[in-house]
């Protein structure tokens, strides 16, 4: 509004109230029009398919409204276990990414920007490689006669091959590797923005380095960490390829079960119901986490 006034008077034209109003409205519409493409995309590729998913999940075999798809999930314990596995894998992967990613991001943030860029390549290069290739690379490394086992046995670290893949261990190794950049990038960004003078000030006020880190640096880096962890956690929940290849059929996540139902029974209703439950469970978990950790600020940019 103020901008419109300034523009109007600068152009030297005499503006009536009505004209001003019109211009204001036009401006609002033009601002609004900026989000139209995004809005169309969201409606087309998120809202419509999602509504269809909900609709399908409540469709019975006879074509009418029915809860049978949801009822089936309570009949077999496997569904409960599959959801537990899904959340377990996602939480453990997120924790592994934090444990690996935080020190690395901290290290990168301390380097002069040019060197940080060089080291960042180590994070980004794998990120640009196909996910499938990386997953199979882990299979080659970790399997019974894989490079790691052969090497360790030659050096004498262990005598019989250790089972590193086709189980939860292999799945977590692969997932943590694939998810790591999603944690590091936002975290590194947040760390770069932390004013170095803060740490100097803390030292000046008598805090030792450890104290200064935990009481000043860490809280300031938290929004970046929370944002990164959330991305990792949510991506993990719907992950398919890595658990399918590295889990050896033992780590059954929701997405694997959806595939099994579709491939074997062509049952879109049952598969949709699984998707809906996962979506609801995810939303609920995020809501709970937001309440507990108060990370609305990190999520929505509110202070």
């Amino acid at each position: 509004m103020a901008r419109a006034d300034a523009d109007g008077s600068r152009s030297g034209k005499h503006l009536h109230g009505a004209a001003l109003k019109r211009q204001h409205a036009r401006e609002q519409w033009s601002v609004l029009s900026l989000v139209v493409p995004a809005l169309i995309v969201i409606v087309l590729i998120i809202l419509i398919p999602l509504s269809w998913l909900f609709y399908l999940s409540f469709l019975g075999d006879n074509g009418g409204f029915s809860l049978e798809n949801y009822h089936k999930m309570t009949q077999y314990k496997s569904y409960y276990r599959i959801f537990v596995t899904t959340f377990q894998v996602s939480i453990l992967t997120t924790l592994a990414c934090i444990a690996l990613g935080y020190p690395l991001a901290f290290f990168l943030a301390q380097l002069p920007p040019r060197w940080a860029g060089v080291f960042m390549l180590a994070v980004l290069l794998p990120f640009w490689t196909s996910l499938l290739v990386r997953t199979y690379a882990w299979l080659v490394l970790l399997q019974k006669r894989g490079i790691l086992n052969e090497f360790a046995m030659q050096v004498g670290l262990w005598e019989t091959p250790i089972k590193l893949v086709h189980n939860m261990t292999g799945t977590l190794i692969g997932m943590a590797h694939i998810m790591l950049p999603f944690l590091i990038l936002p975290l590194y960004n947040a760390m770069r923005k932390i004013d170095k003078d803060m740490m100097h000030a803390a030292a000046n006020l008598g805090a030792n380095p450890i104290n200064a880190f935990w009481r000043v640096y860490f809280p300031l880096s938290l929004p970046g960490m929370v944002a990164g962890s959330l991305i990792v956690f949510v991506l993990c929940l719907g992950f398919y390829v890595t658990p399918a290849v590295l889990g050896g059929g033992r780590v059954i996540m929701v997405s694997n079960q959806i595939t099994a139902i579709l491939e074997n029974q062509f049952d879109w209703g049952a598969a949709s119901a699984l998707g809906v439950v996962l979506l609801v469970a995810t939303t609920f978990t995020l809501y709970l986490a937001a309440r507990v950790f108060k990370f609305d600020a990190a999520l929505f940019g509110r202070d």
């Binding site: 009949q75 077999y76 050896g248 059929g249 099994a260």
Partner: protein, 352 residues
């Protein structure tokens, strides 16, 4: 590959006389790996050339995708390769076009290798395969020879692999290992107790099952890498793994005899042309070439008469008259009725 097929077809079409030459190209969808390649070399390329029907070859055949195309009214596939069980399930869902047997000639086919909705393309067997370095060559003294051996980890210590995410061919071996006669397997499996008996047998073996396989390519890879000592799987994949240097052998004893087939999604865009191509590709002369590329047997009996493949290759085919008596034919009726329940029980056991 696609382009070459197309080119060949275009060249052939320009010489061919008749209505087929002017028809639209049809889309033929198969699986990846050594299977799709074998079909290209044995069946599709020559059938396309000789009939003048241009084909577009795609991979990633799946009855669930075919059904989705049908349900959403956007069918782009004309002929799709599928397992017999998948075709039966898709037909029950109303996703498939009826085969016109006035066009496709199956008079020389083995019985039970075609249905109203699909035409058999090859016969394969679900077998037990093992590392021959560890347990000896098939047929040698002390080598495993029955499903009871597969489930016996005291007599044959080592790791196993079994099917993941899919119950097809998973329960029958367990029952046979538990002492059920091959001819009674489907009778026992028709009851809930029978299914649970099979599942319990697999549950016992589970601590020794190192990997659950998801595909034929994975069966071959597991044996090539020596990741497991014994696995279930499809015979042709192991022969190809052996060609690649894997020390693997298998037996047809108590194996499950099954077939793959061609099905047509309901409302296929080029139904008539595709039916003509199906008729062409089902001829004995093409199926006769299959043994050169993968050890899956023909569904057309006459292929045995016209094939130029050497005797030992022929003898190794699952549908060879000498091998069939040892095997258990897969019951499509059982799968149509019990597959859904069996799958739930199987996944229940897997998720434990």
């Amino acid at each position: 590959m696609e382009i070459r097929t197309k080119l060949a077809a275009v060249v052939a079409a320009s010489f061919a006389i008749g209505t087929a030459a002017t028809a639209e190209p049809i889309t033929v969808v198969s699986w990846g790996g050594s299977y799709g390649q074998a079909q290209d070399n044995a069946l599709f390329n020559d059938a396309s050339k000789n009939s003048g029907i241009e084909i577009i070859r795609e991979s990633g055949a799946s009855m669930s995708k075919a059904c989705l195309q049908v349900e959403s009214g956007a069918v782009t596939w004309d002929l799709v390769v599928t397992g017999s069980g998948g075709a039966a399930a898709a037909a029950a869902k109303g996703c498939l076009e009826k085969i016109d047997y006035s066009v496709v000639d199956v008079s020389d086919f083995y019985p039970n290798t075609y249905t109203d909705y699909c035409v058999g393309s090859d016969v394969f067997a679900t077998v037990m395969a093992w590392n021959t370095d560890k347990y000896g060559a098939p047929g040698s003294d002390g080598a495993p020879n029955s499903w009871a051996d597969f489930f016996n980890v005291e007599k044959f210590p080592g790791t196993r692999a079994y099917r993941a995410n899919n119950v097809d061919g998973a329960l029958e071996p367990a029952l046979m290992a538990d002492g059920v006669a091959p001819e009674d397997v489907y009778k026992v499996l028709a009851t809930r107790e029978g299914k649970e008996r099979a599942i319990n047998k697999i549950r016992e073996l589970k601590p020794h099952i190192a990997v659950f396989w998801e595909s034929g390519a994975m069966q071959a890879q597991l044996m090539k890498d020596g990741e497991v000592d014994m696995t279930t799987g499809w015979n042709g994949r192991f022969d190809n793994a052996k060609k690649d240097g894997a020390t693997v052998g298998y037996t047809f004893n108590q194996a499950l005899l099954d077939y793959d087939c061609f099905a047509m999604p309901k409302g296929a865009p080029n139904k008539d042309t595709a039916m003509a191509f199906l008729a062409e590709v089902s001829k004995a002369e093409y199926q006769a070439n299959l043994p050169f590329h993968i050890t899956y047997g023909p569904t057309n009996k006459k292929a045995y008469e016209v094939t130029t493949a050497p005797a030992e290759l022929i003898r190794a085919l699952p549908s060879h008259p000498d091998n069939v008596p040892f095997m258990v034919p897969v019951s499509l009726d059982w799968y149509a009725e019990h597959r859904a329940e069996a799958l739930e029980l199987y996944i229940e056991m897997l998720s434990e």
